[in-house]
């Protein structure tokens, strides 16, 4: 018997690198090919044929196999449930217990309370009361154990989630699974006024009844008293462990509860398309074209000719750029004598410059001013008249402001 256990445990010890690797996977199972690859890490397994032989030896090991094929996916290899639990227990990779197990334990306590109650009133079978006290104590220990194990399992699961190479989405799912499938239903049972508290109160009441009994042996009364105190401790431990579990998982859930950005969702969706339908379905040529061109490939003489023909007909919109349309008009020379002859044919000229400008409309302002000055200088002072108000004369964008000087007529 001992040698069989020894042989088995030795074989397990030798296979630990492989077993631990299998336990590290999310599904706790690997393909045969992967198992062969990992097996080569084991000391005496040198070649692929050695590895195949080694894996086969683990699959058929007696008295119990160390590996087995999955019943759900027959091409996958996993660790038998009992050995799996042993390794998980030793390595503290504990399973999270379901809340149903907790309910079952509480139901057991309720049943034992009923038995105590019946035996307090009826036949008073002391041995039955004694057995029920021991049963309740066993249930109490189980409750405490589940609370402690669950906390360790939650801590381990959180570490696994935090260091996981799974996507954010997978980790969110894993954390939510712990929260909604373990912590919340456990909470409903454990928290104040929950099923556990009500049952424990009921049990404590019955145990007090036992303590007050005058007919029960002292050792039973003492056991009842000890159990009642131990149950108080257990409630405190279970509550504190549960609250601590909640504290552990809440920040993780909070960090994972943020809604992903559209970019993140789109990128993950694109990768899903690649993994399920293939890269072509991404339509990258259409959705994300990236090209480069060589000038000699895109330059086109015909287009250039078109551009140049456009330029040849191009008319710039410049107002001042006006070409003369006809021969310039000939303007005769203007002399002081011409002006004097005109004055002689006239009456008094009140404003000589105005007079010249009116009679010679084609001549520039400066020419008219020069001629006016000549005429004035050639007349004696008594022939001249002087105006009192300044007058402005304009021609071809030029202007002059002068006091009017006139000439008396003959």
């Amino acid at each position: 018997m001992v040698s069989k256990v020894g042989t088995y445990l030795n074989k397990v010890y030798q296979a630990l690198p492989l077993l631990e690797e299998i336990l590290e996977t999310s599904e706790k199972q690997v393909s045969r090919q992967r198992a062969l690859e990992i097996a080569t890490r084991i000391e005496h397994v040198k070649s692929t044929s050695d590895a195949a032989e080694y894996i086969d030896s683990l699959l058929s090991f007696s008295p119990q196999p160390i590996l087995e094929f999955s019943q759900l996916s027959p091409d996958k290899i996993l660790i038998p449930e009992k050995l799996n639990s042993l390794i998980q227990w030793i390595t503290k990779r504990l399973h999270l217990e379901s809340s149903n197990q907790l309910k079952a334990i509480i139901k057991d306590i309720e049943d034992q309370i009923k038995i105590i109650e019946d035996n307090l009133q009826g036949e008073r079978k002391i041995s039955r009361i004694d057995k029920s006290i021991r049963e309740i104590d066993r249930s109490r220990k189980k409750l405490q154990e589940i609370a402690i194990n669950n906390l360790e399992a939650i801590e381990s699961a959180i570490r696994e989630i935090e260091s996981s190479s799974q996507t954010w989405f997978m980790r969110q799912e894993m954390a939510q699974d712990i929260q909604s499938n373990h912590i919340e239903p456990m909470g409903k049972i454990i928290e104040v006024d929950g099923l556990m508290q009500r049952t424990i109160n009921l049990a404590a009441g019955k145990l007090r009844d036992l303590e007050k009994s005058t007919v029960l042996p002292l050792d039973i009364i003492e056991k009842a008293m000890n159990l009642r105190r131990a149950m108080d401790d257990t409630v405190a431990i279970v509550l504190s462990k549960h609250r601590y579990s909640l504290q552990q998982v809440t920040p993780l859930l909070k960090s994972l509860s943020e809604k992903p950005s559209k970019t993140m969702l789109g990128a993950i969706e694109a990768l899903r398309i690649i993994e399920t339908k293939g890269r072509k379905h991404l339509e990258l040529g259409k959705r994300f074209p990236l090209n480069s061109w060589k000038l000699n490939e895109v330059w086109n003489d015909e287009n250039l000719r078109y551009l140049l023909s456009g330029l040849s007909d191009y008319e710039p919109d410049v107002e001042s750029f006006l070409m003369p349309t006809e021969e310039p008009e000939m303007i005769s020379f203007l002399s002081a004598n011409d002006v004097k002859k005109l004055i002689q044919d006239s009456d008094n000229v009140a404003d000589l410059l105005e007079f010249i400008l009116q009679n010679y409309p084609l001549h520039e302002l400066t020419t008219c001013v020069d001629v006016a000055m000549d005429v004035i200088s050639q007349n004696k002072g008594e022939n001249l008249t002087f105006g009192t108000n300044r007058t402005v004369h304009k021609r071809n964008g030029k202007k002059i402001e002068v006091m009017p000087i006139g000439i008396k007529g003959n």
Binding site: E162, S164, S165, Q166, T167, W168, F169, R171, S255, L256, E258, K259, P260, S261, K262, T263, M264, L265, G266, A267, I268, E269, A270, L271, I273, I274, E275, R279, L282, L284, G285, K286, R287, F288, P289, L290, N291, S292, W293, K294, L295, V298, W299, N300, N303, L304, Y306, L307, S309, G310, L311, D313, Y314
Partner: protein, 191 residues
Amino acid sequence: MELKEIETIESQGEINHSKDIIFDLLKGRHIFQGSEFSELKQNHAFYEKIFALMDLELICHQREFYYLLNNSASTGKNSTSIALIFFVLMRTLSIVENNPRPNLFRSIGFEESILRLDNLAPNDRGILEESGITSWADLDRKLGLMDRLGFINRFPDEERFVFNTPAYRLIELCESYIYNETLEVEGGEEE
């Protein structure tokens, strides 16, 4: 000969970098900053006509960057590898930084080591390997390409990179797949 409606090419501002602008855009680069960007912005219509002569479309993205497109969409190797690197980067950030909403334009940027094949999840590594990126040297070349095209700025001494505004093309590409999925779902319901 039938003449098209007469068109003229006029610039609206100074033209000092036309050679760089034309050649950079023809190389597939995105122009998003500097004097070339200012000149393009000021003379958009002018350059648009220049490129129209080559049957190329000058795109002015609403996030203020320019790039060229032509009508014949071709599945260039570059577009595939750059898109895949971006998708993988996003999924990797969701794992490594535990962040479903990473700020892509953060000034500190991203460490290049995040994309080293050894550091990627096996499925992401497989996707890149299938597209021909099987070593760091391959990935390094692709990051260099992304830098030249204007999507990122690399800081080789620090082995980091930051995203530039043209990365909005990659962001919009990602978002287009969410829309696509919605359409597929809606289509499925109709059937």
